[in-house]
């Protein structure tokens, strides 16, 4: 009985990975083929990538997406790190409320964030839709994810290190720069990377903010309405590849100890 249950669980785990990764690996495979529909036997070609480079707006879209991702990452990581320190270091009765408010965006559908920001920016603040408003709208839910990541990582941080530094005369800012930040920055970087990727690839929130300004997801959305175009094979593969490379690098650095996270257990 026990063996059967364990075996079934292993099969289900392998099944989940197949389900999650088969579409991704297949589209990467197709992106290097001449025939999109039945690419067997393989006939390698780079023409999908050539048409992506020739796509109008591709460079502008890539640039805009990097800006949205980068600015969102900086904002979210900053807000999240400050709040996580506030919640974990000073154990006041406000901490549950603060944590609840920071996590609330996780429970709001993206389409609501998208339309509410659109209406509010235009009708109340009088702001036009542009990259700036896209950054702001993406930073709402990204802050929640970043907060969750930093909070989980910092839960094991030993705040006595900071107290020790203060006892020896370090200022609060000095303590943060010399003691806290060097120890916690891998978590902050992790939160920033996740925020970057979410904002970079977001469509449902960004779409309502940017108007006619192209981003990679809005470009992909426009293409996909006419079926998967040649460029889309290359774009999907490139972004999937970049995401996994980034995550693998982060993981490798953490594993090898180049980025060492030292907490008291």
């Amino acid at each position: 009985m026990r063996q059967t249950v364990f075996g079934l669980q292993v099969v289900m785990l392998i099944g989940l990975y197949l389900f999650l990764y088969a579409p991704i690996f297949y589209i990467i495979y197709v992106s290097f083929q001449t025939n999109n529909i039945w690419p067997f036997p393989p006939d390698f070609s780079l023409h999908h990538y050539q048409s992506l480079l020739g796509l109008r707006d591709f460079h502008a879209a890539l640039f805009n997406s990097v800006i949205i991702g980068g600015a969102t990452a900086v904002l979210s990581a900053l807000f999240a790190t400050m709040a996580a320190i506030g919640v974990l270091r000073y154990r006041t009765r406000w901490r549950a409320t603060v944590a609840g408010l920071y996590l609330a965006p996780l429970f709001i559908a993206h389409i609501l964030i998208g339309i509410a920001s659109l209406i509010f920016n235009k009708s109340v603040l009088g702001l036009p839709g542009n990259l700036g408003s896209a950054v702001i709208a993406n930073a709402t839910y990204a802050t929640a994810f970043a907060f969750l990541i930093v909070l989980a990582q910092l839960a094991r941080y030993d705040w006595r290190l900071d107290e020790a530094a203060m006892v020896f005369g370090a200022s609060p800012v000095g303590t943060f720069r010399e003691v806290t930040l060097p120890l916690i920055w891998p978590s902050v970087l992790g939160a920033a990377i996740v925020s970057f990727l979410m904002a970079f690839n977001n469509l449902e929130v960004t779409f309502y903010q940017v108007g006619a300004t192209p981003t990679l997801p809005t470009l992909a959305w426009g293409e996909l309405r006419h079926g998967i175009s040649e460029e889309l094979y290359a774009l999907t593969s490139l972004i999937n590849g970049a995401v996994f490379l980034l995550l693998a690098m982060l993981y490798g650095l953490l594993r090898s100890g180049v980025l060492r996270v030292e907490y008291r257990d």
Partner: protein, 287 residues
Amino acid sequence: MIGPVAKTLLLALPGLSFLVVFLFMPLVSIVIFSFWRTESYELIADWNIDNYATLFSDVTYLTFLVRSLVMATAVTLTSLLYAWPVAYLIAKHGGRYRLVLILLTAAPFLTGEILRVTALQQILGPIGLINMALGHFGLAPIRALMYSNVASWIGLTYLWMPFMVLAIYLSLLNFDFQLMEVAKVNGARVWRAFFEVAWPLNMAGTVIGCVLVFIPTLGSSLTSQFLGGPNGALYGNILAHQFGATGTWAFGSAMGVLLFAVSLAVTLVLARAVRDFRRAGITIKEG
């Protein structure tokens, strides 16, 4: 010197003000605008409840809402049934590979909805891998995979199940698996031990997972737009439409408010299943 309360609030203040101004206030504003009307793409402050009257009297909108509710329930249940055994396996037997195994389930999420739907279309659609392969071997194509609610269901499960696995896994990290052995030593069979020990003690993780899958699915529009076909439109598609071609923002606001209210109601009902979050597996470790 300022006290610890002031320090917590001071550190939380920048992010909180940001969230209040750019998330909570916009959400309140759509409640207000839902009682206005739209005229040639402009919001007019002419207070009325016509938007809600239309929303609740026109069967069309309620049909889409019910369809989305059914879809969200189906996707949540599928994810729940599949995620529990998987999360349990990783948490209990993952050992030093636990982190890699769980990150592998979460990583595809970061490539974003539109690209994941694109990759799925290459598998499920009429010229997708599955039906092309069937055709190649002389078999009939599976119609359910091409532009249908079944395809949307598969797509939404594909998109959001990682959240369920992650939530249950995080809850199981704080679960003492020896309790299961204690139950078995005392004569409980595997399933009874599971339903009387592991399940109730990890109720919070389960509920958070369910909410994290249910809410985005209820409001989803992209998956059904590209996989659902002509009869696959969901509430999110009709909502998005109000902000596209028709430009009926006030009515769209009312649809948004209804979506938010339903999401909140479902969250509250599910949260009642967890009376005490601390006993149900959620602990913030004392540092």
